[in-house]
């Protein structure tokens, strides 16, 4: 009984208080690490990260109705709950081999402002938080036509992840088809 009275209660409390503040600070520090959520999708070995903020939904492959006279990266249109949305196949733009999509393919609907498209992907891995400081620039001297579509890359357990800039992607002129508009300007 008497031994228990030898505990220096105030000191223990001080220690506890210090630990508490310490833990708070550490928590704050971790929170301060800037993170962005990415939807990880892939074509074969090529993994791409789409900023989750621009992803609206993931769909099983519906019937894609082909539209005549469109380039290869626009395989057609789908019905998204009553709204017609064009499908974009990134493979031709990224110079990846593009075979017929199988039933396992998915569509990731992405939107930014008024632009909306359904990206055709081979598989969806899921959401992943990427710490901004781990993002590296693409290797210098990469002379890839689509290099400006990426905001960088990160290495993770599953390998290389290329981070797509959906704003820039949606702003690409080859993603918007205006056949009559062009015709009018030419006529004028």
């Amino acid at each position: 009984m008497s031994e228990s009275q030898n505990y220096d209660i105030p000191k223990i409390l001080d220690q506890m208080r210090a630990d508490y503040w310490q833990s708070l600070e550490t928590a704050e520090l971790t929170e301060q690490v800037e993170q962005t959520d990415y939807m990880v999708v892939a074509f074969g070995q090529q993994r791409l990260g789409l900023p989750a903020a621009t992803c609206r939904e993931v769909l099983k492959l519906p019937r894609i109705v082909k539209v005549p006279r469109l380039p290869r990266h626009l395989p057609g249109i789908i019905n998204l709950r009553g709204e017609i949305v064009a499908v974009t196949d990134l493979r031709p733009l990224l110079q990846l081999a593009a075979g017929e999509p199988t039933a396992a393919f998915r569509l990731v609907v992405i939107a930014d402002g008024t632009q909306k498209t359904a990206l055709l992907v081979e598989r969806v891995e899921g959401l992943r938080a990427v710490a901004e400081r781990t993002v590296e620039a693409l290797a210098e001297g990469v002379s890839h036509e689509a290099v400006d579509l990426f905001r960088g890359k990160v290495e993770d357990a599953a390998g290389l992840l290329m981070l797509l800039d959906t704003k820039r992607l949606l702003a690409r002129p080859e993603l918007v088809i205006d056949q009559k508009g062009t015709a009018n300007t030419l006529a004028e």
Binding site: V67, I77, N79, G82, V85, V176, Q179
Partner: protein, 704 residues
Amino acid sequence: MNKNKYVEIFAREAEEHLQLMRQGLLAMEKGGASGEQFNQLLRSAHTLKGSARMVDLLELSTVAHHMEDLLKELQGGGRELSPAVVDLLLVATDAIEALLAQASAGGTLSVNVAPIIEALRAGALPEQTIESAATNAAHPGVERRRSVRASVERLDQLTNCMGEILLSRQALAERQRQLLTLIPVMDSFLVQLHRTENHQRMKELRSSFVRIVSDLEQDTVHLGYQAEDIYQRAMELRLLPLATITEDFERSLRDLARTLGKELDFTVTGKEVELDRTVLDLIKPMLLHVLNNAVDHGIETPETRLHAGKPSFGRVHLSAQYEGAFIQIVVSDDGQGIDPAKVRGAAVKRGLLSADEAARLSDEAALYLVLQPGFSTREFITDVSGRGVGLDVVKTNLDQVKGNLTLSSKIGQGTEMRLRVPSSLAMFTGLLVEADGETYVIPQQYIVEILRLAPTEVRTELGREVVRLRERTIPLVSLAGLLSGASRSIEDELPEGRVSVVVLNFRDQLLGCLVDRAIGLHDVVVKGLGSQLKSLDYISGATLLGAGTPALIVSVADLYGARQTSEGTRLREAHAARQASAKRGRVLVVDDSITTRTMEKNILETHGYDVTIAVSGFDALEKLSGNSFDLMVSDVEMPGMTGFELTKKVREREETRALPVIIVTSLASADDRRRGMEAGAQAYIVKGTFDQGVLLETVEALID
């Protein structure tokens, strides 16, 4: 006159202007005012003044009038633009809104506008009271809105959702059908139950199940009716009467006639006919041009008219009436008519045509020249409709509303222009057709008929294929060819037997459009193509078919535009090629391996055989039942049904009993050969020893 109705229409118009004015005034306060902003404000004030007077809202009109005056003063520099003046104008805008709200609610006008008018006159806010008066006025306690404004996009979203509910109803009906298939399963289970209480129990379960399924059916049907009803109502929300645009015409035409020194009797029938708001917006400038044209070009001066034995005042009549899902709008006048000779002359003079081309045009066709851009028959240009833009506007807008136009005119007696427009852009009846494996929609209004043609009925004229229909020669184009932009292989061009040609009429010109199949008429709801596909050649929009699959809507105007440049059909050539191959014989090649069947197909085709491919035994049986073949080449090892089983089935069927069968396989044992012969095959080729000589020899031997 139903005054309330007009007040409502005015209220909607006024709200738009009030909003524009507020935006303009606020922008003005922030960064001074541009000339365009001033003009916009002046236009809004001016419109409010005039329109309010027309619906007898005199106080409102007076406020707008004084706003207009003050704005003019500001624009002319007679008064300096200060925040106080902007405040005053904003207060006046609020007052107009309050007056409007009261008028809409049907109450008597109790807003005291006198101080506001006084302030507008003085160009400054004299005292605090006005502001409070206007603030009070802006929120009168009794005010209740009887209509709300909804953007077309919102209405579209609403109809989209309704469309989805209709699809869900189909899904429910399908589920119910699936449940029904469980009943026989229960029945067969029931007979296996020997213990009386189990049997009894199951019987009760079954009858509860049947009852619930039948209730579900009723509920589904009920839901369907409700959904259809709401869908219709949602579509109707977009409709407005024609009167909303014709009111403006009466005044402006009267003014025009006066300026030109002509006497005019302008009448309108069918003001109550309702059209989609977007259609109204598109046809308004179009009708105005046609009417201006009638007054300016058509109606003669009173002296000329009297001289010609006509009454001194010219008659211009606008009529509208329903024709199914369309509205027929006729503008007629009893003026001097359009002289085809003059039109030809003017067209040549303006370089639209060569003299030769003009001479070859029929009188009827020459009339349509007035629709060309840059065309006017007048020797001098008036500021009304002689600038050669008028009727071209009509044409452009018509293309947008998918409307059709016909012109007829008698010299000295008058001109009649018929516009046929859909009452709604959102919905129309279309013919579903198949081309290149996809379904397309052609608006029914352009379709004259569907021909089923034998290739021998196709003629060639100046190197292009045409058909004759009731004394008219109709050029042919292939829908799939036009859409793909590439020439198709001859085989694709010619389906089995007769071909389907959709005969189209666009501005009185006929065109035959070859399709792979005409499916039938359907009511379709028009959808945009989304943000990515801003405009497409040959396609004007999309719709959703029964199961929710999109289908593209063909732009008939574009098809006509392309009929000169496209290469046309090659039906005769295709037919000739088929005839040639038919002489050698038709062969059905059955193989589940794409390599083998492509190889066999190529070998046989290069030697003049007509080859059809089947990818399985079942596929082969299906193809055999619809068509006649001279020979079948089949693999043995295929999933589902082996080549031996297929051969047996072929022998069992009456119509294919005599069909020679060649088995091509890698199974080389004597036993396999025996089984092949037993099944009824005439020849047996082993793939290991496969060379094209053996195959061709065998085929040749068996066909003759």
